[in-house]
């Protein structure tokens, strides 16, 4: 009962947020957060549930973004049509890749996916005539206000999480998990493992491509280093899922919130808190601390990931019981 109540309240709060919060800056952070919910959840269905760790999700994200951008660049088609197509094109890239690489297992599949992401980035860089190369694609965003983008991102996030939840709780979902747990056993039970891996990859690529297309529409600028970035997308997708909880439905959403908040928290020196303290107390130590914190955000990411892996190997959601027990001293047993 309590759980159902939460499930109603959270979407309601998120839906009403733009009416209550007028800060465009805050909405921008929320949009980034929602985008990461989509990307993290997509990565999670392939890696967390099906056991196929991908280091190349930037490929799907970038292909989605470029679908929208190129349609506009070459055919003057509104990039919103690209949103409809972005996910499908990402899927079309994923299918032959999956067909070729799914016979590979474990680390070999991960390496192949890494090559996919980097390979597409190089192609987009070198094919200057088609993609504009590193000069990228620039469009004027359609809406001045953030609210439409926020609702689209919210819709995308809710749909992706719900659809993934529905799949995981259905028969294919159990197949995915059985492949993750023991591929040979799954095959011996008659599961077509390559087919189901491909299905999982297609779902994953589709939602990631949609997120990419939304990114193009929202940010108005892409270039190969931005959207095919190994560090900013492929690895961040993994971090979002690991921090939140690999193989849990809501883990990537929590991870997305933590990562976006964490980055902004550091980048702004705890939202200007240290600068304020420095001015209020006149102590140069706070100002210096503020500078140090700002520069340390990459280090902060590293430490966060190490802490999570050491103490919460199943992520915040996966180890929620452990957190309740040890941090909040709540012991359900008594």
């Amino acid at each position: 009962m309590k759980k159902n109540l939460y499930q109603l309240i959270l979407p309601a709060v998120l839906a009403l947020l733009p009416m209550a919060v007028k800060s465009e800056y805050f909405l921008h952070l929320m949009i980034l957060f929602l985008l990461w919910v989509v990307i993290g959840s997509s990565w999670n269905i392939l890696a967390g549930y099906t056991g196929q760790v991908s280091f190349g999700h930037a490929a799907f994200f970038g292909v989605g973004a470029y679908t929208a951008g190129l349609l506009f660049q070459h055919l003057q088609v509104s990039p919103w049509w690209g949103m409809a197509l972005g996910g499908i094109v990402a899927m079309l890239i994923g299918l032959p890749f999956g067909a070729i690489c799914f016979p590979l297992r474990g680390a070999y599949f991960a390496l192949a996916s890494l090559a996919l992401g980097e390979g597409i980035r190089h192609i987009a860089t070198v094919a200057e005539g088609f993609t504009g190369g590193m000069m990228g694609i620039m469009i004027m965003p359609t809406f001045t206000s953030k609210a439409p983008y926020y609702y689209i991102a919210l819709g995308l996030a809710v749909l992706s999480v719900l659809s993934i939840r529905a799949i995981i709780n259905s028969k294919p979902g159990y197949y995915f998990v059985s492949i993750r747990e023991d591929q040979d056993a799954a095959a011996s039970l008659g599961i077509d493992t390559t087919l189901y891996k491909n299905i999982s990859l297609s779902i994953s690529a589709f939602w990631t491509g949609m997120a990419g297309a939304l990114y193009m529409n929202y940010m108005g600028f892409i270039d190969p280093n931005v959207v095919f970035s190994l560090h900013d997308y492929s690895v961040m997708a993994i971090l979002v899922a690991i921090v939140g909880g690999v193989g849990t439905i809501y883990g990537p959403a929590v991870g997305a919130f933590i990562m976006v908040a964490f980055q902004e928290f550091f980048r702004t020196g705890f939202f200007g808190l240290f600068d304020y303290l420095g001015k209020a107390t006149g102590s140069p130590a706070f100002t210096a601390l503020s500078g140090a914190v700002r520069q340390a955000h990459v280090l902060g990411f590293g430490i966060l990931v190490i802490v999570v892996i050491l103490y919460l190997p199943n992520g915040v959601v996966g180890d929620w019981e452990k957190i309740k027990r040890n941090v909040f001293r709540i012991n359900p047993a008594g």
Partner: protein, 400 residues
């Protein structure tokens, strides 16, 4: 899980309200937002620009500030990434409510943030980000002090027309970045206008470890001129390996960027001798305060500056000048004042004009420099030259 999110929200809200309360207390200054890459791979240039902004504001405030008010710079780190840059831009506009924003280094960050400034109608005075299309969209709240990348080779073009008329064939090598690709494209067009034949055209991944395959191709084509668009480590490696392979064109020309930095000469050694480069600025140019700026920078920070720093320094003066002339400190009036800018700075005369497809773009001359005995000398156009150009480049065997 919803519990955590809830708690995090409360914490964020508490911190936010603290900060907002804080900003109310210091209303006596004029806040100017500055967007720069202070961390990440572009941090080196961000640092030079930040120091130059700080220096300029220090001087302006020491002389009484703007109409009695001091300028306070709010630096925001864009980390060289468009989405982070956008967060920073949104923060400056909607939280800090600054009347004007400046900075902007990476082309990608500028391309993602300029539309935001335009949509919120807050003037953005771009200091560096040089991709052409930013000032081709008709944005009336976006100004650019830096010339667009396509105009960097202008001085090279006039040198080819005026002096190196015997150059007929060109090899074009460039890094695969926005700057490299747009510079090479515009140079290709210039070469066509001049009737030059491009015999080799090769893009490479920035940070390459060996240029021998590309340079072997260049040697086989034996061009009269090699034009390279590279950052500093690639630039010095290209020259060292050209020396090893004994490639002897009539001239080696760099398209700005790495070829003008002191580190280039240090790392390429005598292979850097006689290399030309396009540049936007050297401190020997006859602009008011140019020499003083580079001397002061050296004294204050114990490091060399270069054209990016001069740009930032001059841009700050442009912004301060507009704030001084603005009827009020609203973004709209500051924009009006910026549009009327007509001043001389250490970086050259600044005036925002429209030409071709461009609007509110500062038009600047570009220059040619040449390394002579380890010193960077201005050689073209003649009226700003500190030394006479040495042309053609001596054969590797005949150098002493």
């Amino acid at each position: 899980m919803k519990g955590t999110a809830g708690k995090a929200f409360v914490v964020v809200a508490a911190v936010l309200s603290l900060v907002m309360a804080a900003s109310a207390g210091f209303a006596e200054t004029i806040k100017v937002g500055v967007l720069l890459p202070l961390t990440g791979s572009l941090a080196k240039f961000g640092e030079i620009e930040k120091r130059s902004y700080d220096m300029a504001v220090g001087e302006i405030n020491a002389k009484g500030g703007v109409n009695g008010k001091k300028i306070e710079l709010l630096f925001e780190d864009d980390t060289g990434k468009p989405d982070v840059g956008r967060s920073a831009m949104e923060k400056l506009i909607s939280r800090d409510k600054v009347p004007v924003i400046t900075g902007g280094y990476a082309s990608s960050v500028v391309a993602a943030t300029a539309p935001v400034a335009q949509q919120f109608k807050v003037p953005f005075v771009i200091c560096t980000g040089s991709s052409d299309d930013v000032t081709e969209k008709g944005y009336d709240y976006v100004f650019r002090v830096n010339p667009p990348a396509s105009e960097y080779p202008n001085a090279v073009k006039s040198f080819l027309q005026g002096v190196a008329r015997d150059v007929k064939t060109v090899a074009l090598l460039y890094e695969n970045t926005a700057f490299g690709q747009s510079s090479s494209k515009s140079f290709e067009k210039d070469a066509k206008d001049l009737g030059l034949k491009i015999v080799v055209k090769e893009g490479y991944q920035a940070g390459a470890i060996d240029f021998t395959p590309i340079l072997t191709k260049v040697k086989a084509a034996n061009p009269d001129m090699i034009y390279m668009v590279s950052y500093v480590m690639d630039a010095s490696l290209l020259m060292r390996q050209s020396k090893e392979l004994h490639i002897n064109p009539r001239m080696f020309v760099g398209g700005g960027a790495g070829f003008t930095l002191p580190e280039f000469a240090k790392s390429a050694g005598d292979a850097s001798d006689y290399v030309y480069s396009a540049t936007l600025w050297v401190d020997t140019l006859p602009f008011p305060g140019a020499r003083k700026y580079s001397a002061d920078f050296r004294k204050k920070y114990g490091a060399e500056t270069e054209y990016h720093g001069a740009e930032a320094y001059a841009t700050m003066y442009v912004v301060a000048d507009a704030l001084k002339r603005a009827k009020s400190l609203t973004p709209k009036d500051v924009r009006g004042a910026l549009a009327a800018t007509d001043m001389k700075t250490a970086f050259g005369p600044v005036k925002f004009v429209s030409y071709g497809k461009k609007t509110q773009q500062n038009k600047l001359d570009t220059y040619m420099v040449q390394w002579q005995k380890g010193e960077l000398e201005a050689v073209w156009p003649k009226n700003v030259a500190t030394k006479k150009y040495i042309y053609p480049t001596p054969h590797w065997d005949r150098r002493r």
